[in-house]
C-alpha cells in the first residue's frame, strides 16, 4: 500500500499532561497530526495553533438568507401576487411579518450552520472514521503524529512522547 501513512500514537491519561505535552512536542518542532479527546478541552485550539472557527460567520449568512426569504415571500404574496383587503389594513403589514421572519432566520441559520459543520468535519452516516484508539471516546487522550510529515525518526518521536507523560506509545498504519 503506497498510500498508507504511518503514525506514532501517544496515549495520555490526563488532560493537563496532554496540554503540557502538546506545548513540548510542538516546541520540539514536531508537527502534530491531530489530538483526540473524550470531551472538548478548554484552550486546546490555541495550544495546537488552530484558527478560530468561521462557523459563526456561516451561521450569520444563513440567518440573513432566511430573513430575506421570509420577507420576500410574505411581501410578494400579500402585497403583489394576491393583495387582499383585510379589514382595511395595509397590504404589507410589516409588524405582522416579524414572527415568521424571525422563525425562518433561526431555521436557516441552525440548519445551514449544522450542515456546514457536518460537511467541514465530514460527519455523515456513511463516513468511515480513522480511529487511532478505541478508548478516545471513553477516557483516553491521544496525540497522533504523522511520520511522513516529520523529520524526526520513529524512535525519537516515541521517546519524546514518553518523556512528556504518554502512558503508552503505539504505532498505527492508516
Amino acid at each position: 500500500m503506497s498510500n498508507s501513512k504511518n503514525f506514532v500514537v501517544g496515549v495520555f491519561d490526563d488532560e493537563d499532561v496532554l496540554m503540557h505535552a502538546i506545548d513540548e512536542v510542538r516546541g520540539a518542532g514536531v508537527k502534530i497530526h491531530e489530538v483526540y479527546s473524550p470531551y472538548p478541552i478548554h484552550g486546546i485550539d490555541d495550544a495546537l495553533g488552530y484558527k478560530r472557527s468561521r462557523l459563526p460567520r456561516a451561521a450569520f449568512m444563513f440567518g440573513i438568507t432566511g430573513t430575506t426569504c421570509a420577507l420576500t415571500l410574505m411581501i410578494w404574496t400579500m402585497g403583489f401576487d394576491w393583495p387582499m383587503n383585510i379589514g382595511g389594513k395595509h397590504n404589507i403589514p410589516l409588524p405582522d411579518f416579524i414572527p415568521i421572519s424571525f422563525e425562518l432566520t433561526v431555521l436557516f441559520a441552525a440548519f445551514g450552520m449544522v450542515g456546514t459543520f457536518l460537511t467541514a468535519s465530514n460527519l455523515f452516516p456513511w463516513s468511515k472514521p480513522v480511529i487511532f484508539d478505541e478508548r478516545i471516546t471513553d477516557d483516553k487522550f491521544v496525540m497522533a503524529i504523522d511520520l511522513g510529515k516529520n523529520a524526526k525518526s520513529k524512535e525519537e518521536l516515541r521517546q519524546l512522547l514518553s518523556a512528556n507523560g504518554a502512558s503508552e506509545v503505539n504505532e498505527k498504519e492508516v
Binding site: P38, Y39, A59, D81, D96, L107, V114, F117, D138
Partner: protein, 465 residues
Amino acid sequence: MHISSHVRPDLVTGGKTLHDVTEDISRHVESKPNPRWLIAFGLSVLLLGYGLYNVYKTVWFGIGMWGLNKTVGWAWDITNFVWWVGIGHAGTLISAILLLFRQKWRTSINRAAEAMTIFAVLCAASFILEHMGRPWLAYWPLPLPNAFGSLWVNFNSPLVWDVFAISTYLSVSVVFWYIGMIPDLATIRDRATNKISKIVYGSLSFGWTGGAKDWSRYESVSLILAGLSTPLVLSVHTIVSFDFATSVIPGWHTTIFPPYFVAGAIFSGFAMVLTLMLITRAVYKLEDYITLEHIETMNKIIILTGSIVGVAYITEFFIAWYSGVEYEAYAFINRATGPYWWAYWSMMTCNVISPQLLWIRKLRRNIAATFIISIIVNIGMWFERFVIIVTSLHRDYLPSSWAMFFPTSVDVGDYLNSFGLFFTLFFLFAKFLPVINMAEVKGILKSSQKHHEKAYSKKSESAHV
C-alpha cells in the same frame, strides 16, 4: 486565575473517573432490557394502542366525536396542545439558556430534558393534526402554490405564525439534541461488541473521532445553536399565546399573555423534567449524576416561575376590573365563581400555592415531596389552559347560547394517546440512547473534583490549626 465558590458542592458525586462515567451511562444501552423496562414499555404501547383507536375514531367520524358544541369550539384539543407545547419548553431552556449562562449543572439533565422536549412537541403536534379535523389537508397552512388561483395563506394570522414557530422549534430542537449526542453515540460504537450495534451506532455517530478540530467546531455550533434557541424558545410560547391574545374574546384578549405563557411553559416543563428524571434516576441508579443539588436547583426554578405565574394570574384579575370593560370583568368573575369555579381553584391551588411549599429547604431536597409537587404542578398547568380556553368561551355575549363542555370518551382517549406516544418514545430513548450527556459530564468532572480536593485540604488545614 481560577476562582470558584467553595460553597457550591460537587456536580458529580462518588469520586467518578472518566471511565466510570462511560460505564455508568453506556451500561444501560448495552445490557438487555430489564423486566421493569419491558413492563413499563409494554404498558405505554398498550396505552398508545388504545389512544390510536380513539384517534382513528376522531379522524374517521370527525371532531363531532368530541364534546364540542356551538359555543365551546375549542376545548381539550387546544388545552392539550398548549399544555404539551409548554412542557416542551424545558429541554431547550435547560440546554440553551443554561449553556449561555454557563450553568454547568445542566450537563447531567440536558440530554433527557431535550428528548422530553421533542416528544412533548410531537404530542402537541398530534393535537393540532386532530384538531384540523381533516389531517390529510395539514399542508394547507403552508404557503404553497395551489389550485385556488394561488390564494396564499394569510400571514397576518397568528395561527400561521404558529405553524412556522412550532415546526422551526421542533426541527431545531431535534438538530440540537442530535448534534449533542454524536460524541456519545461514538462512545457506544467504540464499545460495541456485536456486529449489529457496531453498524447501527457506527452510522448514527456519523464517524465521530473526537479530534480537536471537530470539538472546536462542535463547541462553536453548540454555542450558536444555544444563542439561536434561546430567543426561539421564548418566541414559541409567545406565538402560541398570540393565538389567544390577538382575538377579541374576553379573557383571551390580554397583553400579559406572552410573558405569562412563557413563564408557565418553563414552570410546567421543569415539573415534567423532574417527574421523569426522578424516575430515571431511581431506575438507572444515577444518584451520583443527578444529585440532590440538581433537584434543589430545579425546584428553585419552579418557585421562581411558579411565582411569576401567580403574579400573572392576580395581575390579570386586577386588570380585568381596572380596565372597566364589563365583558372582561365578567369573564374573570365567572372563572372564579361560575360553574367552572372548581377548575379555577384547582389551578390556583396547584400552580400558585403548591410551589410555594418549596421555600422550605427540607421539601426542596426531599425526593418524594418534589415528585408529588412536580405532578401537582403539571395538573395545575393543564387546568390553567382549560380555564383560559373553556371558561372564556362557555358564556359568550348571548345568554341563550351559554353552554358547558363535557368531554366524551374520545376526548379522553385522544388525551391518553398523547401519554402513550410520549412514554413509548421516552422509554425507547432511555433504552437505546445514552440518557446523560457523557462527554459534557466528563468535561466538568475534573474541575468539580479538583475543587473538591482543594476544599477538602483547606478544611483539614484549618482543623489542624
